[in-house]
C-alpha cells in the first residue's frame, strides 16, 4: 500500500523516537502497525503522551481518534507517566485464592496507593495484571520487571519502602 502522506517529523530530537520510527517502518508504515508502534513508544518512554499518539497516528495514516481509541482499549497501554518503580500485582485465579486481595489491601494500608495509582512522592506505581502466568508462585508480584513469588505482604511493603 503506497503511503500517500508526507512522513511527519518526530515531536522532539530525543533519540528514542528513532526506535519507534524503525519499528513502524519495519511493518511498512501501515495502519496495521499501530499496536506495535504504541508498544515501541511505551517501551521507549514509559507511557504514551499526546505527542506520541499524534506522531504515531500521522506516520501510519491512522486518524487521531482511532489511535486514542486503540491506546485506551488495551489495558497494557498507559497514558499517564508512571512512578520511578512499578509493582504489578497479579490477580489471576491462583493468586486470588492464595491472597492477592491481601497484598492489595496491604499496599493500600501501608503505602496509601491503590491499583493504577502512584504514591504521592512519585516513587511507586501499583498496577494489577490479569495473570502473569506464574501461577505456581502464587501469589506473585512483578517489581520493576522481576517476578517475585509466594509474596509476603509485609516483606513486599518493606522492599518497596526501601526503594
Amino acid at each position: 500500500m503506497p503511503v500517500l502522506h508526507a512522513k511527519p517529523h518526530p515531536p522532539s530530537d530525543d533519540k528514542r523516537w528513532k526506535i519507534v520510527e524503525t519499528r513502524m517502518r519495519r511493518i511498512g508504515d501501515r495502519p496495521a502497525a499501530l499496536i506495535e508502534a504504541l508498544h515501541a513508544a511505551q517501551e521507549a518512554f514509559g507511557y504514551l503522551d499526546t505527542d506520541a499518539l499524534i506522531y504515531v497516528g500521522d506516520t501510519l495514516g491512522v486518524p487521531h481518534s482511532r489511535v486514542y481509541g486503540v491506546a485506551t482499549f488495551y489495558s497494557f497501554f498507559t497514558l499517564k507517566p508512571q512512578g520511578e518503580h512499578t509493582c504489578v500485582v497479579c490477580t489471576g485465579t491462583a493468586c486470588y485464592i492464595n491472597g492477592a486481595k491481601d497484598i492489595l489491601a496491604g499496599l493500600d494500608r501501608d503505602l496509601h496507593v491503590k491499583p493504577k495509582q502512584t504514591t504521592e512522592d512519585g516513587k511507586i506505581s501499583v498496577l494489577t495484571a490479569r495473570c502473569v502466568g506464574s501461577c505456581s508462585l502464587a501469589p506473585a508480584v512483578i517489581v520493576d520487571g522481576e517476578v517475585k513469588g509466594k509474596v509476603n505482604v509485609d516483606e513486599l511493603v518493606a522492599q518497596l519502602e526501601a526503594m
Binding site: 524503525t22 519499528r23 519495519r26 501501515r30 495502519p31 496495521a32 502497525a33 499501530l34 499496536i35 506495535e36 504504541l38 508498544h39 515501541a40 501510519l60 491512522v62 482511532r66 481509541g69 486503540v70 482499549f73 488495551y74 489495558s75 497494557f76 497501554f77 490477580t91 489471576g92 485465579t93 491462583a94 486470588y96 485464592i97 492464595n98 495484571a129 490479569r130 495473570c131 502473569v132 502466568g133 506464574s134 501461577c135 505456581s136 508462585l137 502464587a138 520487571g145 522481576e146 517476578v147 517475585k148 513469588g149
Partner: protein, 551 residues
C-alpha cells in the same frame, strides 16, 4: 523491536566443562530456565554449576539450560537425567551437592524419574520440555525436530497432510475442541490466492500457563507445526499473536524465528524445496477478548480488539478478509509429533472423541503446582491427588475450576470422572485451554463466582449490550450476596439474567461469562443460600458484618 542475541552462540552457552568433554557427556545437569524458575535466579544457578563443575575438574559433564521441567512448585529445579535425581529449591549459593552428584554418575546410569508425578504423564506436546535448550536449533533437531516438516515437504501432498491430521482425531486445544483437520480442510478449500496461518498465543485465562511454558521451552515446535499447517492449507505467511505479558516467551520466539530462518526452516525455499513460509510476531496488549478469533484478527490488523458476528468464519474470511487458519499453541505443538509417529499412534491415546493428550497447568491449593501432560480420559482424582500430590496443608478438596472465566467448578463427586471435552461439558464446565485451579474449603464459591464476573465485566469489550451491561449487573448482584444484602428475589434475577446473557451475547466471552455462576449454583447452591438467608459465609471469606446479621 530490539535484537535478542542468539545465546546459542554466545558466551552463556556452557563453559569449559561442557566443551572440553568431547563426545557425549557422561552426565548432564538440566537447569530449568522457564519463567517460574528464572524468577528464582535459575540462570545464576546455571552459571554457578558450570563454573563449579569446571573447578571440580569434571570435564565430561554438561550443564544445560532447558525449558520447563514441570514441577514448578519446587523450583528452581535441576535434574540429572542419568540418575533421575531432581534437585528442588536450589539456591545459587548452594550447588555443591549437585556437583558432587554429577561427579558420582556412572556411565551405565539410565533411570527415569520415579513417582506418580512423572509416571502417570504421557509427554507428546511437552516431550522436549526440560530436555532441549530453547534457543538451540540443533538440540531440537537432535530430538527429531523438523523430521516431520522435511517428510511433509518431500513426500506428501497437502491433501495427505490434512488427511493424517483428520485421522489423528486432533481437536482444537484452545478449548472449544473443533476438529483441527476439518478446519484445515475448510481453509485449504476456501477461495483466495492469499491465505494466512495464525497461532493464537494470547493465553488469557487466569491460572493457565501451558502455552507460555511450551513457547518458552520448545519454540521451534510451534514454528514447525505452523509451517506444516501452512503447507497443508496453501499459506505463505503466518502470525503468532502472543501476550505482551510473556516477555520471555516473546524473546525466545524471536530468537527461534531467526535461527529457523538462518537454517532454512523458515523463509523462502524451506528445506531446499519450493515451499515458502515466514512468521511474524504480533504482541497483544492486555485484552482478554483478543483470544476470540475475530477479535484477535482485529488486533493483528492494528485495531481495537472487538469481535464481529460469525459467519463468515475466519477460515473463509479472516485476516484482511483472506482465508485464515487460527489454531492455538498446543494444537500446533501436536502436529509435528502426529506426522512423525503417525495418526494411528496418536489416536490410541485418549477416550471417545477426545484423542491424544492434554497439557494442564495445575495451580491453586495443590501441592505440586506445575505443568503436566496426561492422556485424555485420565480422571480428575489421578490429576489432583496422584500427580498433583493432593491439597496443600492436607485440607479437604472442595472443587476444581477448569476453563477459565467461561468454565465451571467441578465438585468432589466427579473426581473419578475421566476428563474429556464431552465429560467436562456434561458437568457444566469446559475444557478451556487447560488451567486447573484446585480449591479447598478456604474458598467461598460465591466469592469465586464474583471474582470471575469481575473479570468478565472488566474484560468485556463493550461492543454488545448483553455483555457490557449484563456482566456488570451480574457482578453487582453477586456483590450484594457476598455482603449479605441480597434477597431470594435477587437470586432469581441472577439466574434469569445469566440465562439471557448466555443466549444473546455476541462472542464467547459474553456467552461463557455466566458459566461460573451456573456451575456454582448447580453444585454449591447451599453456599448462596447461606449468604442470602443465614447471612453467613461458610468459608469465612466474605465479610458480612454483625449489624447486617441482626437485621
Amino acid at each position: 523491536m530490539s535484537e535478542i542475541p542468539a545465546s546459542a552462540h554466545s558466551a552463556d552457552r556452557r563453559t569449559a566443562a561442557s566443551e572440553a568433554g568431547g563426545g557425549s557427556p557422561r552426565a548432564t545437569a538440566y537447569v530449568c530456565e522457564a519463567a517460574s524458575c528464572m524468577s528464582a535466579q535459575s540462570h545464576e544457578i546455571t552459571l554457578r554449576l558450570a563454573q563449579g563443575a569446571a573447578e571440580a575438574g569434571l570435564t565430561d559433564v554438561t550443564v544445560k539450560r532447558v525449558g520447563c521441567l514441570g514441577l514448578c512448585a519446587a523450583g528452581p529445579l535441576v535434574e540429572i537425567a542419568e540418575t533421575a535425581q531432581v534437585f528442588e529449591r536450589v539456591r545459587p549459593d548452594n550447588v555443591e551437592g549437585i556437583i558432587k552428584a554429577l561427579g558420582e554418575v556412572k556411565p551405565t546410569d539410565t533411570r527415569r524419574p520415579q513417582g506418580p508425578f512423572f509416571e502417570k504423564q504421557v509427554r507428546i506436546v511437552t516431550e522436549n520440555l526440560g530436555r532441549i535448550d530453547p534457543e538451540n536449533l540443533d538440540d531440537y533437531v537432535e530430538r527429531g525436530g523438523y523430521e516431520a516438516l522435511k517428510r511433509v515437504l518431500s513426500d506428501m501432498t497437502s491433501t495427505q497432510v490434512r488427511d493424517e491430521i483428520t485421522r489423528s482425531g486432533l481437536r482444537g486445544r484452545g478449548g472449544a475442541g473443533y476438529p483441527v483437520g476439518l478446519k484445515w480442510t475448510t481453509v485449504a478449500k476456501a477461495a483466495g490466492a492469499q491465505k494466512y496461518v495464525v497461532c493464537n498465543a494470547d493465553e488469557g485465562d487466569p491460572g493457565a500457563f501451558m502455552d507460555r511454558s511450551v513457547l518458552e521451552s520448545d519454540p521451534f515446535r510451534i514454528l514447525e507445526g505452523m509451517a506444516i499447517a501452512a503447507f497443508a492449507v496453501h499459506a505463505t505467511e503466518g502470525y503468532i499473536y502472543c501476550r505482551a505479558e510473556y516477555p520471555l516467551a516473546v524473546a525466545r520466539l524471536r530468537t527461534a524465528i531467526r535461527l529457523a530462518q538462518r537454517a532454512g526452516f523458515l523463509g523462502k525455499g524451506i528445506a531446499d524445496t519450493s515451499f515458502n513460509f515466514d512468521v511474524q510476531i504480533r504482541l497483544g496488549a492486555g485484552a482478554f477478548v483478543c483470544g476470540e478469533e475475530t477479535a484477535l484478527i482485529a488486533s493483528i490488523e492494528g485495531r481495537r480488539g472487538t469481535p464481529r458476528p460469525r459467519p463468515p468464519y475466519p477460515a473463509v474470511e479472516g485476516l484482511w478478509d483472506c482465508p485464515t487458519l487460527i489454531n492455538n499453541v498446543e494444537s500446533y505443538a501436536n502436529v509435528p509429533t502426529i506426522l512423525r509417529k503417525g495418526p494411528e499412534w496418536y489416536s490410541e491415546f485418549g477416550i471417545g472423541k477426545s484423542k491424544g493428550t492434554k497439557v494442564f497447568a495445575l495451580a491453586g491449593r495443590i501441592v505440586n503446582t506445575g505443568l503436566i501432560e496426561v492422556p485424555m480420559g485420565t480422571t480428575l482424582r489421578e490429576i489432583v491427588f496422584d500427580i498433583g500430590g493432593g491439597i496443600t496443608d492436607g485440607r479437604p478438596f472442595k472443587a476444581v475450576q477448569t476453563g477459565g472465566p467461561s468454565g465451571g467448578c467441578i465438585p468432589a463427586q466427579f473426581l473419578d470422572m475421566p476428563v474429556s471435552y464431552e465429560s467436562l461439558l456434561e458437568v457444566g464446565s469446559f475444557m478451556g485451554s487447560g488451567g486447573l485451579i484446585v480449591m479447598d474449603d478456604t474458598s467461598c464459591m460465591v466469592d469465586v463466582a464474583k471474582y470471575f464476573q469481575d473479570f468478565c465485566r472488566d474484560e468485556s469489550c463493550g461492543k454488545c449490550v448483553p455483555c457490557r451491561v449484563g456482566t456488570t449487573q451480574l457482578y453487582m448482584i453477586l456483590d450484594q450476596i457476598t455482603r449479605g444484602e441480597a434477597t431470594m428475589e435477587d437470586l432469581a434475577q441472577l439466574e434469569r439474567l445469566a440465562g439471557i446473557i448466555q443466549k444473546t451475547a455476541l462472542c464467547g466471552l459474553g456467552q461463557g461469562a455466566p458459566n461460573p455462576i451456573f456451575s456454582t449454583l448447580r453444585y454449591f447452591r447451599d453456599e448462596y443460600l447461606a449468604h442470602i438467608v443465614d447471612k453467613v459465609c461458610p468459608a469465612g471469606v466474605c465479610t458480612i458484618t454483625p449489624a447486617e446479621v441482626k437485621s
